[in-house]
């Protein structure tokens, strides 16, 4: 009854092309942003902010990057953690070596470095597809982590190979409380998510989807493979790079290259699959699911008095089983469930 677009007429091109065509969606998203920006930092506990919400937002951003590449452009990649590492370590080096470097600019430069690495390792996508591509993106993963470990310059010759992220400071304000870090991350993620949403419904996004659906056919109708595929790799790596920088600066604080291991890449892959391929909302849902699942399982194990060794193995098994379960039951992910719910809501309470 409440959720219905009847009577909402579009009378201008601007109204026709808006991001959320249904008024209730617009109000909903405004409310959500208002709650996230105003109420949450006021009332949430530091634990909730720094252990759940901040990683959730950062992983959402990384999942967005992965989703752009995999869900929209159809190029399977197993190296997203490597791009995150490039983003984090280049942001660190920019702040370290360029005096007076503003931190946000460093994040963006970190993202751009990741984008460049992404373009280089995206080159094989012009020749190979499918599993061959997936396996060859593993090269990124192993090479980047190796390079960051072995070339001491990147870690500023620290003896343990661990870097400590600098203080986040913007215009003299120090972001050191959980709430302020949360707001910074939320701001960055909101802006980039908006950018992604707009990108995928513009010319660029349509080209990506055409390439994903059938690259030969796309080429025939005049979409240039080289530019489109490499742009997808660049944008995706940019998102991952910024996410990686935030991961180091706003969440972990001290990072070693090993933190961006293949395991993290898989985790991001799962977020995209469980959330829904080719959906911006899905990236957030998937990230939320994967961040919350281990915490929930941990609590459960604690409540049932299971030893940690057993619990961690059970967690691994649950993780695997849930992924298989999702693939079997809902291959289009949580975003699809959300969509079905919305369809139902539109017809409610008269289903005909």
């Amino acid at each position: 009854m409440l959720y219905r677009e009847a009577g909402q007429f579009k009378s201008s091109y601007a109204a026709d092309g808006q991001i959320f065509p249904i008024r209730q969606d617009r109000i909903g998203i405004m409310l959500l942003l208002a709650i996230a920006f105003v109420l949450v930092p006021q009332f949430a506990t530091p634990y909730l902010l720094s252990a759940i919400l901040v990683p959730f937002l950062i992983f959402s951003l990384a999942a967005l990057g992965q989703n752009i590449l995999m869900g929209y452009a159809g190029q399977v990649s197993l190296g997203s953690a490597a791009f995150m590492a490039v983003g984090a370590f280049s942001a660190y080096n920019f702040v370290l070596r360029v005096p007076g470097m503003p931190i946000l600019v460093a994040f963006i430069l970190g993202g751009l470095c990741a984008a460049m690495v992404g373009i280089v390792f995206g080159l094989p996508s012009l020749r190979v597809r499918g599993f061959y591509l997936a396996a060859s993106t593993l090269a990124t993963q192993f090479f980047v982590v190796w390079a960051l470990t072995k070339i001491r310059w990147f870690t500023n010759y620290s003896s343990s190979g661990v870097i400590t992220a600098q203080q986040i400071e913007i215009l003299g304000y120090h972001f050191d409380t959980p709430a302020s870090k949360y707001l910074l991350v939320l701001g960055v993620v909101s802006v980039l998510a908006l950018a992604a949403k707009n990108m995928v419904r513009s010319n660029v996004g349509r080209c990506w989807m055409a390439i994903r659906d059938m690259d030969v056919a796309a080429e025939v109708i005049g979409i240039r493979q080289l530019q489109t595929k490499l742009l997808a790799f660049a944008v995706s790596s940019f998102f991952c790079g910024v996410a990686g920088a935030l991961y180091a600066y706003a969440y972990l604080g001290t990072v070693e290259p090993e933190a961006y291991s293949l395991d993290l890449s898989f985790r991001i892959l799962f977020m995209v699959v469980i959330g829904g391929l080719g959906s911006i909302l899905g990236s957030f849902l998937g990230a939320g699911f994967i961040v919350l699942l281990p915490i929930a399982l941990n609590q459960l194990a604690h409540a049932l008095h299971i030893s940690t060794a057993v619990a961690s193995n059970v967690e691994l098994m649950m993780f695997g089983a849930l992924i298989i379960f999702f693939l079997i039951v809902e291959p289009h992910g949580l975003a699809r469930l959300w969509q079905i719910g919305k369809e139902k809501l539109r017809l409610w309470p008269f289903p005909h």
Binding site: A135, A217, V310, F319, I324, L327
Partner: protein, 299 residues
Amino acid sequence: MNINFFFEVLIGGLLSGVMYALVALGYVLIYKASGVFNFAQGSMLFFGALTCVSLTEFGWPLWVAIIATMVVMWVLALAIERVVLRPLVNQSEISLFMATIGLSFFIEGLAQLMWGAEVKRLDLGIEDVPIESLMNNFNILVSKFDVTSAAICALLVTALALFFSRTSVGRALRAVADDHQAALAVGIPLQQIWGIVWGVAGFVALVAGMLWGARNGVQFSLTFVALKALPVLILGGFTSIPGAIIGGLIIGASEKLAEVYIGPFVGGGIEGWFPYVLALLFLLVRPEGLFGEKIIRRV
């Protein structure tokens, strides 16, 4: 450059290449027959080796343990086919691939839950000592263990190749690999064939797991051996048994040579990524690998 040393490294590399080939073979078998890129091969390898070792720790003789593990692997393979793959028939290749990643998490958890996570030693009764005649005559150090395990691998690979080309089951397998529907139409029981393929892949995983486990100890890092086999697949082609063998030899030899001759200049440890970069460069020239089927794309 010392020529003896070069040959020593080369032979060592080729021998470990045979073992890579064996792991890669597990992938190829399943990919050919069911179009699934089975990422869980590494976990199956780990699971098999760990089960076998744990059974011998109960005091079972080695051969009884091996047979028992084979039964376990067979049951595991059938269960995978029934629970994971059958509901996912007709899904895109990539979601099947994800499912096997999920499966690998599950198996790793299960293995450690059942048998514990500590490193176990496996003794196959083969000594890891240099072969004396080679050492005395040519001054080349080649481990007896490496040669024996390479021989076992070679034997297994030959047996499988014969099984595929000479027996009626093998013919059925190749028919399924060519075209599922056509195979069904001529009366080949698809699910039975998949069961056999996964069972054979499980057996290959067990052998590879035992050999690698005896070398490095049975531990979690065994699952990474499977990651080593991926560049072998890219190089050799996903659908080709000879490709897996030749690819394994190339990767094994070049990896060791690169580590010895290039490694010192860049700080070492390049074994981890060198095969991938090699395979990547190779892909730019031949996208379907050495022996893979030519990919024809139609609109």
